[in-house]
């Protein structure tokens, strides 16, 4: 099957992610330096991890001199969803993607990169993927640098408003497909109900956030896969 494999198309598709990341990583930069990290350390964290929730969780552990095992487990739990995304993405890769490419692409397989790649109607090729991950990675790094360096001079109201950027992107990915596919809408409702239950119900509240996301996502997806498996022709199209 023909692949989506144009570098420039990848760049174009990655730009919205890049802009979204600029604001979120900007917020991270502010948070990191205000917590006591240097600008250089904040930048390094972003350039080596590229994971919003994981980095926000790591900063307090690092500045308080927490145990390494605590940091490792926190990252494992918060980022475990990426393992599911990588399995899912592996099914979308075209024949042009070789083993060394997989090692590189995995490094920037973020929620948004994954969402865009998996939203493609065709398999994705290596050139497309390199284009897709390039500007988000730059946006994530540069936003952190600017936020860490200049964040203190921004009014708190602007920083607060930027907090919504990442969720705006998530909503822009999910809502249009809820409209198109009723089972997707139902899946979203189930995931949201579960997520709220873990936030507000006693006992369930004690479950760490990283586990919550995995449990909510796995349960609602499995439920929908059992109730409404995708049409057989789509299965065939994936072969």
């Amino acid at each position: 099957m023909n692949e989506k494999n144009s570098f420039s198309k990848g760049i174009v598709d990655g730009l919205p992610i890049c802009f979204g990341y600029l604001s979120v990583s900007f917020a991270f930069g502010i948070f990191a330096t205000q917590s006591g990290l240097t600008i250089f350390e904040a930048l390094l964290l972003s350039m080596t991890n590229v994971t919003s929730a994981g980095q926000f969780a790591a900063v307090p552990i690092i500045v308080s001199g927490g145990a390494l095992i605590e940091l490792a487990i926190a990252q494992l739990v918060i980022n475990l969803r990426y393992a599911l995304m990588s399995i899912s993405l592996s099914q979308k890769l075209g024949d042009s993607v070789r083993l060394p490419d997989r090692f590189v692409i995995a490094f920037v397989n973020t929620d948004e990169v994954f969402a865009v790649a998996s939203g493609s109607d065709r398999p994705v090729g290596r050139k497309y993927l390199y284009g897709l991950i390039l500007t988000p990675y730059l946006g994530w790094s540069i936003g952190t640098l600017i936020g860490a360096g200049a964040g203190n001079i921004l009014p708190a109201s602007v920083v607060s408003a930027l907090g919504l950027a990442i969720y705006g992107m998530f909503i822009a990915i999910v809502v249009p497909d809820m409209k198109k596919e009723k089972p997707v809408a139902l899946c979203v409702v189930i995931a949201v109900v579960l997520s709220c239950a873990f936030e507000y119900l006693p006992f369930l509240q004690a479950v760490p956030d990283g586990f919550v996301i995995i449990i909510c996502a796995a349960v609602s997806s499995a439920l929908m896969a059992a109730l409404k498996p995708i049409p057989v022709q789509e299965v065939a199209a994936n072969d």
Partner: protein, 103 residues
Amino acid sequence: MTKFWVYLIVMAGVTYLVRMVPLVLVKKKITNRFILSFLHYLPYAVLSAMTIPAVFYATNYGASAAIGFVVAVILAYFGKSLVTVAAFSCVAVFLAELVIKFI
């Protein structure tokens, strides 16, 4: 701060392994219909669970976040791009907080 480098290596190592191992190991095309369906629904489920209720705590006020959320959902419903939705929902939060402080 040499301890920082140890933290950095551990953190980046864990994060990378979680992403890399499945992507490198899963090479075959999955044909099981249940698993394919599961993977089809997964991105929506992950993003939804990450968004609600966290989005309502993402700004200085629950009310401003709620307004930003509603603006984002409406724009997304009418098929606006990722950047448009993200930018206008931030602007909505900013304006809402101006009003909230004024009140």
